[in-house]
Symmetry: C2
Subunit: 441 residues, 2 copies
């Protein structure tokens, strides 16, 4: 399969099976926005909850915040976003359309009308709005371009309320907005995106150790969500390409169907952010070591993960076609931990009340393991399996006449079908529950 | 305690103990925004997860979506927000400040400088921004003023991908933005808020039954999150005060310290929304009943809950002061289900390695029940209990020399302290785990 074809198939399946819909579709869409459907919401929530579990809740040194998207604009002056978060833009002198200068092959002629292009100008990518009743500059606020700002702005409040000891970190999941001139590649380059970010505060001398720990954690997370290690590549960003304050940056790149692109980032940002905010706000953002009585601005390690890019990497990694029973089958080989549905329960025939009743009991039993156990009694059993394959359900459980004791030695057993192989086993309900439990734990 | 005093105490505790911080505080704040701190994030997540469980995941007739905040502006024209989502505003002719006309006692004189006030004008409460490189009207987009629009816009995509049978509903949690002229009352009237909304689609003849079901569900939810029934009042909104399309609306009001105010809403919206979007977009938004072959636009029941108002109602309901050991004690009587920390484990003395080691084991054991089991070995045991009382931790577990077998008959037992009564029991670790489990299930 060609890469462009794979991408089309993923986008099509995502829409058809309720993962991701184009934003505002009935109104002709809105560039750079997508909506998660019923299956996509669950997949995304599973990714986010796993991240919270691994990056925040399983650690005593991590604290959560959930800061507002609208912040005092001075934050983005101090962070450098007001002056520097921009793309070079050229305008066609004939049709007045604007383009990213760095995306054009021909820097002279307009790709739409052939007109002459003007000089490149910097275009700030932050969305601007106005708070309050006045529409003047004094009321300008920005939609945050990254969640990190909301973490740094709350550093003092977290220290004052939680009294954490260094090293410690603050974690946040939330929306960020970037007015991309050319949003593209499905949910890869969006105008509205979700981020999962940690700012981990350390003694300056401890940065390398913390950097290595988070680097390992990011690989563990890739594994947990089902992104294979051989598709993830660490790019050591050379000094000339790093932000001036960063002493080390690794881009985690993924082999997307449209090329190897940045998935996540890990950066050692020194004390740049806290120092900049301390200077600009006048707030005391240093940390007092109670043992040594030393007072200093902590240094920062930042593991930054995009939710939507992660979801796309998961879908791209999981998409499969094979031959089953002489037909082409499409399935998503999702890690059971992130699959939107953990198992589907089905009576072999829907018009046999005794099968239906037993199947309902089995489903209730399996829902004690996990609530996301689907029900399907529609059409023949092969079609039901195919429908679950397409949304990545790892197991299908079928209740038939043997379950009811047609062959007495099989009474109480069910069929457990495995998504990837299509193979089936005969098991007790308790054994089936154990299989599901151990797959998602 | 006076109500204004209670409100001050809640705001102060929320900040001091890491529940809610003023937004952008180090930069002097941003009116109408607040940030959730480490304890607040957990409380809010617990509320949202409980809502997802009760309103979405435990039901086969419910589907989730997560739509973008930025939508095609035509949606808000069709919904009536562009023309009608506004507040009356007056401007002082002297100092040029603007005020909500309906919030002024004196309609003639400016409350700030005493100048004359002009006539009231309608001020649209939607935040406006521009998408793309052009800052003209063609690129104007709004921050959504409610999450409901993202549900209606996805009705067709959900029907086409999930093939649901009526009645069914779509649920969503997300941010909404309202450019309030006078944000106030802590996290009650915000410019940036979170909503939990359901649009439940029914046959026109079934609306009353569905309305009653959701009404009951909302009361169950109040109970589950620890909002006492006697503080929740149903206000049957009379016809003249309802939106023109609504045939019935109930406001669920709560006795906040600053008065009885709207907490949640439940409305029967007829087919107003889907019809408006079908007309404006040209999309087919009717439902085909496969049995009767009847095609019609479903009617809608909308249970709408504000996350931040719910959190505030929980905090206001839970705030308590009593006398304990001759001192005034402050505690939050939070429902264990929503409490940010389920239990705290503590060695009686931190300088006795055998106590610390045993306490670590006990904590690991209790974390099998729930990960949110805190550790505290700082200061005397009474102070540790008080710290947990203030954040609403239902249980404290203390490991002492009896745990280690100083009195052989008590070996392996721990002290379990109950937050509200301050009473203590001697239990085995397994019994303590059971107490915690049954309190949060």
């Amino acid at each position: 399969m060609k890469d462009s074809e794979l991408m089309e198939k993923i986008v099509s399946l995502a829409k058809r099976r309720g993962f991701v819909f184009p934003g505002s579709e009935i109104y002709g869409g809105l560039a750079g926005t997508f909506d998660y459907g019923p299956m996509g919401v669950r997949l995304k929530e599973n990714v986010e909850r796993l991240w919270l579990q691994m990056f925040r809740d399983s650690r005593d040194d991590m604290y959560g915040v959930d800061a507002a998207i609208l912040m005092n604009p001075k934050i983005w002056e101090a962070s450098g976003h007001v002056s520097g978060f921009s793309d070079p833009l050229v305008e066609c002198e004939k049709c007045k359309k604007r383009f990213r200068a760095d995306h054009l092959d021909d820097k002279e002629k307009c790709p739409e009308c052939g007109g002459s292009l003007g000089d490149a100008r910097q275009f700030n990518m932050m969305f601007k709005t106005h708070a309050g009743a006045m529409e003047d500059d004094s009321a300008t606020v920005y939609l945050r371009p990254e969640t990190a700002g909301g973490i740094f702005a709350n550093f003092k409040s977290v220290v004052d309320s939680m009294h954490p000891k260094l090293p410690f970190g603050i974690a946040q999941i939330g929306k960020a907005f970037r007015n991309e001139i050319a949003p593209r590649d499905f949910i890869f380059r969006l105008r509205e995106l979700s981020q999962m970010e940690v700012e981990y505060f350390v003694q300056p001398s401890e940065w390398e150790q913390a950097f290595e720990e988070w680097r390992k954690m990011m690989h563990l997370f890739a594994e947990a969500v089902g992104i294979p290690q051989d598709k993830v590549h660490e790019l050591e960003v050379p000094e000339g390409d790093r932000a001036h304050y960063s002493k080390r940056t690794i881009d985690f790149e993924f082999d997307y169907p449209f090329g190897r692109k940045e998935l996540w980032g890990l950066a050692y940002r020194t004390d740049f952010d806290l120092s900049a905010h301390a200077n600009a706000s006048g707030a005391e953002l240093s940390y007092l070591d109670e043992e040594t009585k030393e007072k200093f601005i902590p240094h920062v390690i930042e593991p930054s993960l995009g939710v939507d890019r992660t979801v796309l990497a998961i879908l791209a990694s999981a998409y499969r076609e094979d031959d089953m029973g002489g037909e082409t089958r499409t399935y998503l080989a999702l890690a059971p931990k992130v699959a939107p549905v953990k198992a589907m329960v089905s009576p072999l025939l829907k018009n046999k009340p005794e099968l239906v009743e037993k199947a309902r009991d089995v489903r209730a039993e399996l829902q004690k393991v996990h609530p996301a156990i689907a029900w399907d009694d529609n059409g023949n059993i092969g079609k039901r399996y195919r429908r679950q394959d397409e949304i990545g359900t790892p197991f299908c459980v079928t209740i038939d006449f043997d379950t009811l004791g047609e062959h007495p030695e099989l009474e109480g057993t069910v069929t457990l079908r495995h998504r990837d192989s299509g193979e089936q086993e005969r098991l007790t309900v308790a054994e089936a529950a154990d299989r599901i439990r151990s797959a998602i734990e």
